[in-house]
């Protein structure tokens, strides 16, 4: 689809033709153009939810819309805050009913490459499926929409601009406004949360961070591996403790050896996503490092932290295309 190609300034006669063609072509089919650093391939995208510009635009608006929660007070962005690399600054966050959260909010940088997506749910393998967890989940209640799925369609359907945006994003099913399409749009936007602009990516580590990187490779990279510093595998650090309220992977599998296992978190932007640990119980990076049971002296911990700081990407946390949209359908929101 060539909608973007047609957007160049043209002579008036040609412009009329273009307008006519644009009207005849479904906007939703405009291709998404990835902006990726050299050497980085586009992330995997499900065949049944191809990326389009219209879907990403809709998903971005929905990501910041609190009408996805029962009382209109909580959006995805309430917990996934851009300046914190789409994590937040709290230990765990209660949902709309004030039920305490169980796990720390994870950052979303490069989430398009992650599977499984959650700390301890091997079934959460796609962003499209994962979207239901915060919206409808009851363990704990987050956005509180369990049993209210139809209400989501009604809410967005009352907004004429949303009707246009859904129609553009989902011409294949008539722009249906329902949670299935909401999830597809959210997933499309979330796949654009790409962070590859840290000092480490630019190979601009200062001497302390450089020393930290050597330690990191030696002591940490067996689990915090790859471009996103995670092997995407669930591990347990320390002994099993059946008394803990959160048993991690065991809660999904029922297998005794899975008690206390959680997925290795990505370390992209880790300095911006504290507090740390699956339950947010590590208040500092020092504490989080120490909990791994390794034997680093204070100088080495400082070097490791310098390295972790070098994984922060301020271009990502300030990128306007990922922020709450200022307008939709040509009008200010």
């Amino acid at each position: 689809m060539q909608i973007r190609r047609f957007s160049r300034p043209l002579l008036s006669a040609g412009l009329l033709l273009i307008i006519s063609l644009s009207a005849a072509l479904p906007m939703g089919e405009a291709p998404w153009r990835w902006t990726l650093p050299a050497g980085v391939s586009a992330p995997p995208v499900p065949a049944d939810n191809p990326m389009t510009a219209a879907k990403v635009e809709l998903g971005r608006r929905l990501f910041y819309d609190a009408d996805l929660s029962i009382d209109g007070t909580m959006s995805c962005a309430t917990c996934h805050v851009q300046k914190h690399a789409f994590a937040d600054s709290t230990r765990t966050r209660p949902g709309v009913t004030d039920e305490p959260g169980r796990r720390n909010v994870p950052g979303l940088a490069n989430v398009a490459w992650f599977t499984p997506l959650n700390f301890a749910d091997p079934a959460a393998t796609t962003l499209e499926a994962q979207a239901a967890t915060p919206v409808f989940g009851t363990h704990p209640v987050e956005m509180g929409m369990a049993g209210r799925e139809a209400e989501i369609g009604r809410r967005f359907g009352r907004d004429s601009c949303y009707r246009v945006m859904f129609a553009r994003a989902f011409p294949d099913n008539g722009g249906r406004i329902d949670f299935s399409n909401v999830a597809r749009a959210l997933a499309s936007f979330e796949r654009t949360l790409i962070s590859r602009g840290s000092a480490w990516d630019r190979q601009q580590l200062d001497p302390e961070a450089q020393a930290g990187s050597v330690l990191f490779v030696r002591d940490c990279a067996s689990c915090h591996s790859g471009a996103n510093f995670t092997d995407l595998t669930m591990h347990r650090l320390g002994p099993v403790d059946p008394a803990l309220a959160d048993q991690g992977l065991f809660e999904k599998t029922g297998i005794e050896t899975d008690r206390g296992k959680f997925r290795t978190p990505s370390l992209r932007n880790v300095a911006l996503t504290g507090p740390w640990w699956h339950d947010g119980s590590a208040r500092t990076l020092d504490e989080a490092i120490v909990r791994h049971g390794l034997t680093h002296d204070a100088g080495e911990v400082a070097q490791l932290i310098a390295f972790l700081n070098a994984l922060s990407d301020t271009e990502f946390t300030g990128r306007k295309s990922l922020a709450m949209p200022e307008e939709a359908c040509g009008k200010r929101l």
Partner: protein, 178 residues
Amino acid sequence: MRGKMLWNPVLGALAVAIVAVGSAEAQEAAQPACTAPVAPTGELAPWTTPFPLQAAGSEAGISSASLPVGRAARLTLLQTPQVRYALRPEKPGGSVSHGGLVRIDVREAGTYRVALDSAAWIDLVRDQQALISTAHGHGPHCTGVRKMVDYSLTPGPYILQISANGQPQMTVLLARLP
């Protein structure tokens, strides 16, 4: 401070904790259950005697929605789509949430505290700018004060923007701190 607050459960013992704002992020958390209500004291004492107040839907109507210093109000909000904020809130709330505007007049420079019974997002606006808060925290346990935000203010008029409130009514108090 601009914002919805997340109370960290580990701060439970610090029942009246209000902390300096290191970042604009606020904190909120569920409180332990209360066996009996507790009347707040000191600058929060007016909390228990709120007067009814209708929030304004825009700057144009704000003169009739004034919250005096040292008073609490039981505020009736509007549905969010009916509100025209002076500045777009960082957390604007969904169409089913509630919000509104309140006028505040400050005559003496000092530190002022806005206390709420909900986790609504608030902005204090002057000259089309949202002020940065100096501290935030939650109120004394079992008083019903859910959230407190402090500002250092100079004399003049301000607009208190309330957004993303789940209920159509809320209690708000404005106090000058000693």
